[in-house]
Structure formats: structure tokens, C-alpha cells
Subunit: 383 residues, 2 copies
């Protein structure tokens, strides 16, 4: 491995410049993101997403104590409406969406006919026959359009002009109830309401891609993006609000897998710890039924696990790090890692052969092919 | 507009850092790309692509005079094989692929049932029932899989372990014939052969995303990437070979549109100057037939044009710049721009209302909402 990307004991990955263009789409909040000093970005759904403001650790400590505003416009929506809308969204996921009421969101892995995960979105039910699929990093728009065309289904499928802004952290409840009244404090997790902020209609959901709680606000008019940001920013001053972004330390501590990094089309949901989101006996027709039934019957061959890695603070791998058993055989690979100040060790997600997936299993990690370290499989509470 | 991204007279866009992760996939040639000093990158098909080595202009001047090696692994392949392979690839494009012989490549816009462009790949016919779709920046894998599933077609569709490496520039013919013999000098444009370099089988095509000529070499075993690079690099020393990448100045001069920047799902091929790749009366069934026939009958409402912009060297827009007619009405927008040393003016691609699309039309460009400049529509030879 070339080691430009990985310097032990370095505070951040040494990373190259990103050249912006129209193809890496602009967000409605982008001016504020740059003004607030975002230092580094990734690209997600053909759009830019900030990754660091002060430093990963300082951003994390602030998130856990206060409140942050996050430009998560990259969570693009695929809107599905029309007579066959429910049948289509049921077809693409093993999750039983007939139980998803209007006003509710559900995390629902999209799974193809071979059992492979196409994406792991949150599905928002806006009306009996109207859904937003709030997608991770793959073109679900093309997937849904292709299936609907092939099946001749009576649906309309498009990407609406919707960009989510997240308010995350323990003080998010105070902030949002100052802004909208006490009723938003009582909202249940994964429920949403339709309301208005800064004179623009929004969908407000109790959700977000952190373990610290909060809301996602779905802006529907890009020209009002800065007004929406500013309205939250102003009220947030008394709560020490800062601009932030999905944080690697928080997501590892919270067990949030990232599509493309920790899971991909090559994975099935049963090996990724997503069984609780798979209603294999759901009544509706779904395309992965036969494949998942077979995997369930045969048992999975590998598992995505939580793995603690000893030693100094690590920077996440450029791609993967090999895992070896005590005989030196390759039995898996690490896909994401970060040093947790809370657990005082490196946390990681790894894919390992079934025989090595039990809590307490000891494995050796080859870091960038240069250094070996001991590691141990943990449960999903990092115990 | 926020002006972090756009500084007049600046040699390069001021751009943020890119954070690497497994999700932004590693290429088989990446170590050499970093070693050769790539300064800045973009993300394309969930993978990194270098954008600048020395500077856009120095890279351009070298490309026009010598030979460069480009890591274009981001040109991912979607392999379609099986009994219905030809029927499926015919279905998704208005181009007549029955005329594409084995050993031939064809540029073929993929167009949906509404006439929208899903991607604009090169299709490589490897066997009567085996194709590689060499895609621009959208998940054609999901599009093709979705349609095939919906239609119940007898095909296998997957992303093979194939990564193209381009050899571009006027000395590419000398270099490749030194490496493989004189027969490769005589290869026709968009024809390919199967051969071997550095002990690994490759598909060698006379093609590439520059106006300076050359080859694309489709590596099929990622573990041999550095060997392949090094074999070409060694022979290239006598031709002053450098590492390079698709160059904005060259692509504007050569009229190469970029999917996501200059054209997108919202565009139809007839308004983008792609009519010569649309065989609207082709015999095979294709999904855009009715939509394109209607657009053809009604006439297009707007056109993608070549536009020269006066004044000092410009940096390409973050998103778009508005175009106005002499009454100040908005009649279009610029999507890509660069200063051409050859034409000694700024070249751009723009989308304009039909009434303003003729060569010689004068328009005013609003640069980042801060400055207005005169511009003139040119023909596709920049006359």
C-alpha cells in the first residue's frame, strides 16, 4: 500500500484537493458550509458533503454536548407516486411497508433478486400512494425507474427538489421547540410532521445519521435554503450551535454502517446485522424473497461485525485492511475505523467469515500491509 | 454566489480537501497517480479520478505535443451477457447496435422512455451476445439490472473487474507500436483487439476522451495494474511520457460533452447535438422511440451549443452561469468553461433556448452573478 493516505499518529488523513464542477452538484446550503469553515469533503449521490470542520474529534465532542446543523442535501429523495407506488416500494425491499403509516419513516434495505443490497434508505410515507426514498450513495432513481418500466407499473418516479438539513445533538430538542413549539419535543423517533420554517414548507422528521438525537428538515424550495439555515442558526446561538456533518467517530460508536464502505451490492442484509429490518414472510410480493429464504436456510457465510483494534489512534483505511486468524489465514477485512475517545480504543466495522464472528474472537489486523495489531470482535454495543 | 470557488485571474479553482474512504473506490493504478504528483481529483462512478497534475494549461500543452498515461478506471464497465443481451442493449438506446460488429465500439446515448439521457457510454461488443457498456457518471448497472428484472430477460448483468488505462496524445501511436508491433498503428478508430501487455490479457481499443488520439487499454486483473502502468511508462520514456488525465481545455476544444455537467437526465439527445447517434427508425425495439419521435416532430425547445466568452481567462462555473439576451431576459446557462490557448478566448458549453442557438448569436453571460461579459454562439468547430 502506498502510504500517502495513512500516517500513523497523524491527526487527519493526508488528502488531495477536490475540484468542483456542476457534476458534483451544489447544495442549497453550500454557501454557509464554506463560510463556517468546512475543511474537507466527500462526494455522495453526485453532490458534495462536508466531512470535517475543526477536526474529527473536536466536531465529535461538540456534537455529543451541544447541537449542530448539518447540510445533508446528499440524502437525495426518490419520489414514487401513483396507483402502483406501494406495490413498487414493497417489491424492492424485504421490509413490510404495509405497516408504515402516513407520517412515519422506516429504514428499509433495498435488496435485488440475488439478495444483494442496492441501497439502505429511509422510506418516508407522505400519503398512501406517495413515498420519498431517502437514499444512500447509489442511483436508486435509475433502479426504481428501470423496474417500473420493465414491469409496466403505473407510477411516477423522479428526484424532487428536496434537500434535507439535519439538526443533531442533545440540545436539538430545545432548539427546535424554541423554533416550533413544545409539540416537536414529543415527536416519536422516525415520525414526521409537515410544517413551515422561515416561511417555507418543510417536512420535519425526528431522525438523523448520528447517535446523539435530533431532527431532519426536508427543504422543498432550494431558493429558501439559506433562510432556513439562518433561522435555525439564529435560535441556536444560545445553545452554542456549530456547523457539523456526519462524524466517523460518532457513527462507529453508534453502529451506523455506511453503504459503499461497510456494505455494498455484494452483501446480503442477513450477514450485515439487518435481519430485524427483513420481514421475510411479509404478505406483499418482493423480489428478494427466494434469495433471502435460501440464505436464511443455508446460514450466512460471513458477518459484518464490530471490531476493537488495539494501539494508537488509527485513520480509517483507504480501502480495506486484511484480518488474519492465529494461523495467519485471511478471514476477513476491516472497512471503516476511528479512535473513540469514549471507549479509549479504535473501533471498526469488519466483514469476517462466520467461524470468526463471535464476540470475543481474537484476530490480527494488517494495517496498510505495514503493521499488525491485535483486535477483538465485540457485540453491537461494543461490549 | 459565494466566491470561494471562483477567483478571476486565479490559475486554479480554490478547492477544498477530499477525504478518501473505501466508498470512493481505489483504482488499480492509484499508487502511480499519487507518485506522479496528481494535485486534485474529482469523484466519478464512486471512484477517484485525477483532474490536474502540473496545471490545467501545462497538462494540456504536454498532451497536445507528446503522450500521456491516464488512469481512467472510473470508466466502469457494465457487462451484459446472455441470450437477450443484444435485445436489452438495443432497448436502452436509439443507436442501431445491430450494426456494431464484434471488435467494434460505438458511442451510444442511453435514453429513457421520456427521452431523457440516462448516460452516454461507449458500448464495446466483445461477442455476439456479450457487451461492455463503458459508462459515464451514473449507475447504469442498476438501470440495466432493473429493466432486465422487470422484463424478465435472460441476461447476466454485472460490473466486471475491468479498469481502463488510457494512452493519449500524438506520440501514443509510436509508443504503442514499440510495445505491440506496427499493427496497432493501423487500428481504426473505435476498433479493438484482444492482446497481452506485461503478461496480462487486455482489450486494446483505439479510443479515448481527448481530441489528441490514442488508445484505451482495458485491464482485467486489478492485481496487474502497476505492472501494466510500468510497462507503458518504460517504453514511453523516449517520448517524454507524463501522467495525465481528462483535461478541461482539451475537452472543450474537442467538443466533448460531460454527462452530469453539460447534459443530464433532463436533456434529450436531439437537443444535445447527438442526433447522429440516434437511428430513430432502427428495426429493434427501443424504449425511447415514441418520446424521440414526438420531440423530432415538434422540434427541440433548446440546444446545447458551443459559446465563446470574451475577456480574461475564466475558471469553470461551480454550477451554471445565466445567459441573457439583449433585453436582459434569461435565455440559457453555461455549464463548462475554460480558456483556450489555441483559440485565445474562453470556450464554453451552454444550453440556450432554440431562438438563440444559431452561430453568431450574441448573448451576455453573468459570471457568478458578479460580472457580465459578451459572448457569441459558435458552430461545433468553434467557428
Amino acid at each position: 500500500m502506498h502510504n500517502t493516505h495513512f500516517l500513523k499518529d497523524a491527526p487527519m488523513v493526508i488528502s488531495p484537493r477536490l475540484v468542483l464542477s456542476r457534476r458534483l452538484r451544489q447544495t442549497p446550503f453550500e454557501h454557509r458550509v464554506f463560510e463556517q469553515g468546512a475543511q474537507a469533503f466527500t462526494v455522495y449521490n453526485h453532490m458534495i458533503l462536508s466531512s470535517v470542520y475543526a477536526s474529527p474529534e473536536e466536531d465529535y465532542r461538540h456534537l455529543c454536548a451541544h447541537v449542530q446543523i448539518w447540510d445533508v442535501s446528499v440524502e437525495r429523495q426518490v419520489e414514487v407516486t401513483g396507483r402502483d407506488a406501494l406495490a413498487l416500494v414493497e417489491l424492492v425491499t424485504p421490509r413490510d411497508l404495509s405497516r408504515c403509516r402516513v407520517g412515519q419513516c422506516m429504514y428499509a434495505p433495498l435488496v435485488d433478486e440475488n439478495g444483494g443490497i442496492v441501497n439502505d434508505p429511509v422510506i418516508v410515507r407522505l400519503a398512501p400512494d406517495r413515498f420519498w426514498i431517502s437514499v444512500a450513495d447509489s442511483d436508486v432513481l435509475l433502479w426504481m425507474k428501470g423496474i417500473a418500466y420493465g414491469k409496466g407499473m403505473d407510477v411516477s418516479i423522479f428526484e424532487p427538489e428536496v434537500s434535507p438539513l439535519a439538526v443533531q445533538g442533545p440540545r436539538s430538542y430545545d432548539l427546535m421547540s424554541d423554533l416550533l413549539g413544545e409539540q416537536v419535543r414529543k415527536m416519536k423517533f422516525f415520525r414526521f410532521i409537515e410544517t413551515e420554517i422561515a416561511g417555507t414548507p418543510v417536512v420535519l422528521a425526528r431522525s438523523g445519521w448520528s447517535g446523539q438525537g435530533g431532527y431532519e428538515i426536508y427543504l422543498q424550495d432550494a431558493s429558501k435554503g439559506l433562510d432556513l439555515w439562518d433561522a435555525i442558526w439564529t435560535v441556536g446561538q444560545q445553545y452554542d450551535i456549530r456547523a457539523g456533518c456526519p462524524n466517523l467517530i460518532d457513527r462507529l460508536e453508534s453502529g451506523l454502517l455506511s453503504y459503499g464502505s461497510d456494505i455494498c451490492l455484494d452483501n446480503n442484509p442477513l450477514e450485515c446485522g439487518l435481519s430485524r429490518f427483513c420481514d421475510l414472510d411479509k404478505p406483499a410480493e418482493y423480489m428478494s424473497r427466494a434469495a433471502l429464504a435460501k440464505i436464511q436456510a443455508d446460514g450466512v457465510l460471513r458477518k459484518v461485525v464490530h471490531l476493537k483494534i488495539a494501539g494508537d489512534a488509527l485513520i480509517s483505511p483507504r480501502s480495506t485492511w486484511t484480518l488474519r486468524n492465529h494461523q495467519g489465514q485471511s478471514v476477513g477485512f476491516v472497512t471503516s475505523a476511528a479512535f473513540s475517545p469514549t471507549y479509549e480504543t479504535n473501533l471498526s466495522f469488519a466483514t469476517v467469515d462466520r467461524a470468526y464472528a463471535a464476540s470475543g474472537q481474537l484476530l490480527t489486523v494488517e494495517i496498510e500491509g505495514q503493521e499488525s495489531r491485535p483486535s477483538v470482535v465485540a457485540d453491537d454495543k461494543w461490549q
